[in-house]
Symmetry: C2
């Protein structure tokens, strides 16, 4: 390694360490911290974030990146050095584009906004949130201007979460499968009483839910010597290193889904982080490459594997034994249908596989329109409900069940939603590629063997960390670009079967 790239590595390693420290403190805040700790923790996080930002935007670092770039000229695109340099250059340029004062102000506005939003949601009172949301979209427009774009301001925003993705591309992808979804949902709507999820709402002892979930995700491949599983209000995954990955879940004693599928979902994120190459650990490359690719992993384990017939032919007897008496009067077929119930309902986080992307499309279209001014914030509740009705055929009775349901906008996360839907699409493209390479995969899953799939994901996706952008990675893995067709085909086949359609 050359002298400059080595110096750069050290400096980026320290940035990465500070990021790790921030994540440890964030995890503790959500999972362990007593109430009293909130105010001092906010102070400590802000001090660390400030120090991190100063290091990340120092002139020194900029010079070092230039010098290291000259030194490594000619290194292969796939080499660790060239990849590190690409990421360092990109991160530095992104950080430099946003003025410190703007970042501080945006942090403050969105921090205050979250309390205002939470109260507005609780009281079904959009008006009290409206001025704050106006301010946030105004600042999001400024943010887009600072970051720069050629076609649409939204390009700059989505690029923060899914580097290389554009508004036009998202629109193309979404429009290419929206009619199919609407049609299939409508068809199921006609026969919706054929399937019920009642058995998932029986009484499931929480300790036993936990034991079963842990048994399952350990079997999937989540490594507990390099990770933990805990409880939090909002489930999440965070990582301080490939060797220390934390996932969380929540439990309801009368609803099996949140813990069971939530744990598989977060374990999917967790296994991605655990699978990054050791050599990239503690560098800017040592983490998943984008939110969309991350979501492809969580949704693959949660849905493609975890809601499949094969998986439950193996897992159902174990589930039944784990909850003695609870499932005596039913069977694996009924259970499989129950976990694949399609419901037209208002809340995104409760959405099934089929309706999920439609919830996202609604948000994507509104975000674009709000950003350009085609829709005004004051019109939002009305427009939300109108479009929701067009998409789903039902109308939210309150804003709490409508425009106020998600935390993202109050947190300033504009451009984030599409990554959820892109992740669903990618999950099927990656899975199909894995099956093409290993035709026995589905039968392995049906016998509780998951290591071939995990190992394929590690080799083709996980180990690369942030070496490749999301489009680069998908091209490498599948030979093509992101494409909704395989996902639609999967949904059509699956739900035609579940609902016994024509």
């Amino acid at each position: 390694m050359g002298e400059k790239i080595e110096q750069l590595s050290t400096q980026l390693g320290q940035l990465s360490d500070l990021g790790g420290a921030l994540s440890v403190m964030g995890w503790d805040q959500e999972v362990m911290m007593p109430d009293g700790g909130a105010q001092p923790r906010a102070r400590q996080l802000s001090t660390l974030a400030r120090i991190r930002h100063e290091m990340a935007t120092s002139e020194d670092l900029g010079d070092l990146i230039e010098a290291a770039a000259q030194e490594t000229e000619g290194a292969g695109y796939d080499s660790d050095e060239a990849s590190l340099l690409r990421a360092a250059k990109y991160d530095y340029e992104q950080d430099m584009k946003l003025p410190v004062d703007f970042v501080a102000k945006f942090t403050q506005v969105t921090s205050e906004a979250q309390h205002i939003w939470a109260k507005a949601r609780a009281n079904n009172d959009f008006k009290s949130f409206e001025p704050t949301l106006e301010k946030i979209f105004e600042m999001a427009r400024q943010q887009a201007d600072f970051l720069g774009y050629t076609d649409h301001p939204y390009d700059a925003l989505i690029g923060q979460y899914e580097r290389g993705m554009t508004t036009a591309e998202v629109a193309r992808i979404f429009n290419a499968h929206k009619p199919d979804l609407i049609e299939l949902i409508a068809a199921i709507g006609e026969v919706e009483d054929r399937v019920s999820d009642d058995i998932l709402h029986r009484e499931y002892d929480i300790d036993k839910q936990r034991a079963f979930g842990i048994e399952v995700i350990e079997k999937l491949g989540f490594d507990f010597t390099r990770g933990r599983q805990d409880i939090s209000t909002h489930p999440f995954c965070t990582s301080f290193s490939r060797n220390d990955v934390r996932i969380t879940t929540r439990f309801y004693k009368d609803y099996l889904n949140p813990s069971l599928f939530g744990m598989m979902h977060e374990a999917g994120h967790g296994m991605y982080e655990q699978g990054v190459a050791e050599a990239l650990d503690g560098t800017p490359l040592g983490s998943g490459t984008s939110l969309g690719v991350h979501e492809s992993q969580s949704r693959m384990w949660e849905n493609v594997v975890g809601r499949s017939k094969g998986f439950w032919s193996w897992a159902y007897p174990k589930l039944q034994a784990n909850f003695p008496g609870v499932l005596d009067d039913t069977n694996v077929d009924a259970f499989y249908k129950a976990i694949n119930t399609v419901k037209r309902q208002f809340i995104r986080v409760e959405a099934d596989e089929l309706t999920y992307n439609l919830h996202i499309m609604l948000r994507f279209e509104l975000e674009c329109d709000l950003l350009t001014g085609a829709v005004k914030v004051s019109e939002l509740p009305q427009v939300w409900n109108d479009r929701f009705e067009q998409f789903f055929g039902i109308r939210p009775p309150t804003d709490t069940l409508g425009v106020l349901q998600d935390v993202h906008w109050s947190a300033g996360l504009i451009g984030y939603f599409p990554t959820y839907a892109l992740g669903n699409l990618l999950s099927m493209q990656y899975y199909n590629t894995a099956v093409a390479a290993n035709p026995s995969l589905p039968s392995e899953i049906a016998s509780g063997k998951f290591d071939t799939l995990l190992s394929w994901l590690q080799t083709n996706i996980h180990q690369h960390g942030r070496k490749y952008t999301s489009p680069e990675l998908t091209k490498r893995v599948t030979g093509t670009q992101i494409d909704p067709a395989p996902y639609v085909a999967y949904l059509q086949e699956k739900f035609t079967d579940v609902y016994g359609l024509g």
Copy 2:
């Protein structure tokens, strides 16, 4: 507040925040972290510590302290501003005295030493630890030279943990009560079969131990809205703010003491941290003033309160009810004697109230002799065993039970041990002062009422944080200096009663 002192406050607040971050990560490391996290965590801690050290020794900070000193000239000694400045000046000078290279090297040597020591202890193999220990004492001498001293190099070392304390003063204090301890221990040795702790070694369900311990420390006054209680291999207390204080304990299913008295001990540390004035939070004054004063709090709640007859007249029926059947054949008197059993044995951390300080004196004398060269590291096992026999009348059969038992020296903590014994002495001086001011205290304790004592401690000790040094604080509280006489009188009265001595 003047401009300079305000700037200084901000800068010190950031230092304090970094310290808080380091503590969060340290706590997580001991309590939550999966095995795989060790190596990345060490890296993250080292990066943060380096950044903290750079901030703590920056020329900027030095200039600011000088400017703020001029600005606050004339501020009362007890004022927050003058106290902040004293602490800032002291910390800065101490930090500046140790060259960065020395600190890095000492950290590295002692970090490696801990593995070597742990292995040597496990294998009863002092020889394998000897070269490392020689290196550590050599570096401790250098450390003392860097820090500076007038009489004895050990002054510089103990000053790191107990500011204002000297070797001569420790020697005077220790010599003033050593003969009394030896005499009383010998007298009890003649009738040692009068008391037994067998009933503490029955089978105590761990969940019930935990529930009982938590009930007790909550009653004592540990505030769970501003703290947590968890499990770790080695019990400790750490604090990220007065409003986020974490304590830990360990459990054995066949031994009640470690969890029961360990929890009261750590809660004593924890309540000290929780009692620091809100105005000092997030500043260099926002924590306990010295290890000795800290230990006075933990030992007061653990021993003076927690091993008293009065306390158990209240607590014993609850304990009995908490462990149905386990204590049916015994009574509160037998239990009180059991928890006050005096044992001549080899291990400091298992020592009772009476023998504890003697274990410390042995270490103090050896540390001084090793530092001056009067004893060589190679002679240590022999000298340890000889002196142990003089003190206790029994001889360690192995080095594992002798010179290798403690972690401190391998961690580079020379001068730390005396603070344990000083804490014992102070606990009684403070307690007597509290009783003089509130004569009903003992009877309150006997009826399970602890708030008068806690509130007295908060007013007289806790709230001041690091405003006063340990000697200053003791002078303010008791009107005198540290003095072993009250502690000796307490031990004589207590153990004469427990053992029915003449």
